[in-house]
């Protein structure tokens, strides 16, 4: 027992690590950023820290199909056209300079990764294959069967393990340390050793991804709890567009199928022209739009499906029905990617030529996040962010395929600008007096509390509130109720207790850390959704079903200690004056 107590009584600062750039979150964006530094500047030390395992935790590995970039093999397409599709389908509130950077640099980044790892499928002519996905005007999806994200994540992992980047797995960052709004370090907790680590660094890049786990039903990895968003907010950075959570319209629901990406039914839509219908047999999408399988974006489809479910026309397991009974076995296996999936489904007792599956709506992606400028820097000096953790690229609705390429571009760009920043700062001074022991004290109190609320229960409460009140279809009353329920949970955050007092790989302790982040992000998401009295992209208000450009073609910005503010989106190629009216 004595040994255990020593572990958690150890003060912050007894284990220190120094580097030039600390990258928090080792998914695609984080690894790309680390490699961008390592490949150009051997003199700079980079630490890549993740609360899970390098390249395996996080959501990059879950990227199912498409990674979009405009390649010269299609002369009809251009980065400008990719830009227009992204801003139009983002419902115009995207940060246009960021979209410019993204669409212009995506081709070089994907080709660079492919050259290093043979990541994407190549046709007989030696050119990278590209497919069409809904919302895009041209075929620009690179892919590798149905595991493109995994292919990318494992290639990045392999490459970074050969570099001089220091990897710090299973260490959760609890606070970013700033002095006068300038970054100088971070406090982490090593789950394996059960000790705090004090990181000292002039620059930090947050690449922790989104917050899909705020919701009861989510396609995201278990660690998508919005940590980086809460860390940035607490450090004084701004968050924006928090009300925009993408719901995946057709996630697998029933029967329970194993070893498959939860998003796989979308392939039945894109490439096999599936039927999608409610309990009355009505093809509710086809009635609105005969070409819906190829053209309708995720926001509209999710809202239509959720409406069917809510109005009692759903399937027995809480979804709607999907089938491809119009196709023969040969036709199904001929369709892209199903040559492997069809037999795998058969082995689990599902024959797509005879059986119907149920699919449902599930939280998938956070369009909102940390507000950054064109250099991917926040308003806190030395604090950068990239990937799903930032706001702006995808606006109010993300197009398929725009995530996997965006993480490469913004990860790389954040690294380039972080290097410039580090080069321009003087070496770190002595910070001994500039931090407190609050995490250490909170941990001691948590471990000593004999009874209280379980972090597991608290996490579930947040997920239930968010799903029921801040979900696919929202209204004022529901959002106010949700906000009220979240606020009543505030007091329980410091009343948590754990059933095991060990600091060695304590899962409940991880939940306790995460629940605090989730709570911060859930509140901001709900507040943003309540303020935005219109519908736009993924944010649908039953009481304000139309978009109102005149008032709400704006970003809602949150900064700790200040009231919410609104600001018109930054514009580059696409003028918005006409929309404001």
């Amino acid at each position: 027992m004595q040994k255990m107590r020593d572990v958690y009584s150890r003060k912050i600062g007894s284990t220190r690590k120094e580097c030039h750039i600390l990258i928090i979150g080792a998914g695609g964006a984080g690894i790309e950023a680390a490699l961008a530094v390592a490949s150009t500047r051997e003199d700079l030390q980079v630490i890549l820290v993740d609360k899970g395992v390098l390249g395996k935790s996080g959501c990059t590995i879950l990227g199912g199909f498409s990674c979009n970039a405009v390649l010269e093999t299609n002369p009809d397409d251009s980065p400008s056209c990719h830009f227009e599709d992204t801003v139009r389908e983002g419902r115009f509130i995207n940060d246009q300079p960021l979209v410019d950077t993204y669409t212009e640099k995506a081709p070089v980044r994907v080709k660079e990764l492919h050259a290093m790892g043979g990541v994407f499928e190549v046709g007989e002519d030696g050119a990278l294959k590209q497919e069409m996905v809904p919302g895009h005007s041209h075929p620009r999806a690179l892919f590798n069967n149905l595991h493109t994200g995994k292919s990318m994540a494992l290639a990045l992992r392999r490459i970074v393990l050969k570099s001089n980047v220091e990897i710090c797995d299973e260490c959760i960052i609890l606070r970013i340390l700033c002095h006068d709004s300038v970054v100088w370090g971070a406090v982490g907790f090593d789950m394996v050793q059960g000790t705090f680590i004090l990181f000292e660094c002039p620059a930090i890049i947050i690449t922790t991804g989104g917050c899909g786990q705020l919701y009861r039903h989510s396609t995201t990895a278990i660690g998508s709890t919005g940590d980086g968003l809460a860390l940035a907010y607490e450090a004084g950075a701004e968050l924006q567009d928090m009300e925009f959570i993408q719901f995946f319209p057709t996630a697998q629901c029933y029967p329970r199928l194993l070893h498959l990406n939860p998003t796989f039914p979308s392939m039945l839509r894109y490439t096999a022209g599936c039927r999608l219908y409610n309990s009355e047999g009505k093809e509710f999408m086809r009635e609105v739009n005969p070409d819906w399988t190829y053209t309708v974006t995720r926001d509209e489809l999710s809202q239509a499906i959720y409406k069917e479910i809510q109005e009692g026309r759903g399937s027995p397991h809480g979804g709607v029905y999907m089938d491809v009974l119009h196709l023969s076995a040969e036709e199904i296996t001929d369709k892209f990617s199903f040559s492997r999936i069809y037999p795998r489904l058969l082995s689990m007792g599902i024959d797509l030529t005879k059986d119907v599956i149920e699919t449902t709506v599930s939280a998938h992606f956070s369009m909102g996040g940390i507000r950054v400028d064109t250099t991917l820097q926040t308003c806190v000096d030395g604090l950068f962010a990239a990937g799903e953790a930032i706001a702006g690229v995808h606006g109010a609705n993300r197009l398929p395929g725009n995530a996997l390429s965006e993480i490469l571009v913004t990860g790389y760009e954040a690294a380039v600008h972080a290097i410039q920043y580090v080069d321009g700062t003087s070496p770190a001074g002595d910070h001994d007096t500039m931090y407190d022991q609050s995490e250490c004290e909170a941990l001691s109190a948590l471990l000593e509390r004999e009874s209280g609320i379980s972090p597991i229960a608290l996490k579930k409460s947040i997920q239930d509130i968010m799903w029921d009140y801040v979900g696919v279809i929202r209204d004022k009353k529901g959002l106010e109720d949700g906000l009220c329920k979240l606020e009543t949970l505030t007091s329980t955050l410091n009343q948590m207790s754990l059933s095991s007092k060990t600091c060695i790989w304590n899962k409940e302790l991880m939940d306790a850390f995460e629940v605090t982040f989730m709570f911060t992000v859930a509140l901001l998401t709900t507040q943003g959704a309540l303020v935005r009295e219109e519908s736009r992209g993924s944010h649908y208000r039953k009481d304000f079903p139309e978009s109102n450009h005149r008032t709400w073609l704006v970003n809602i910005i949150h900064k700790k200690g200040y009231p919410m503010t609104i600001s018109r989106p930054r514009v580059s190629k696409m003028p918005l004056e006409g929309l404001y009216g």
Binding site: K3, I222, L258, S454, S500, T502, W505
Partner: protein
Amino acid sequence: MDSNGDAHLEVFRYNPEIDKFPVFQQITIPFHEHNTVLDALRYIYEHVDSSLAFRESCRAGLCGLCAVRVNGKVCLACSTYMCKTMTIEPVPKWKIIRDLVVDYSHQK
């Protein structure tokens, strides 16, 4: 979903910091034929004993982090249906950090 009887589990428990030897904890939970080994571990974690340590992440058979040994055979917990009698152990040959969590840090 209705339960279809009980599942009887023996789960490997070991905290090298304080335990001299590993032990097998006997746990009975509801059996559901469509549930996975990971669902069973989560059920234990949420309803029986929250001190159980195990890894999970993607829940789609992609990341490999939930690998455990069930009745002697290494499998991904998220991609294996549970059965009525299960002995769940960590994957063999790696140093144990705690319970079902092993140290892969030298796997590079």
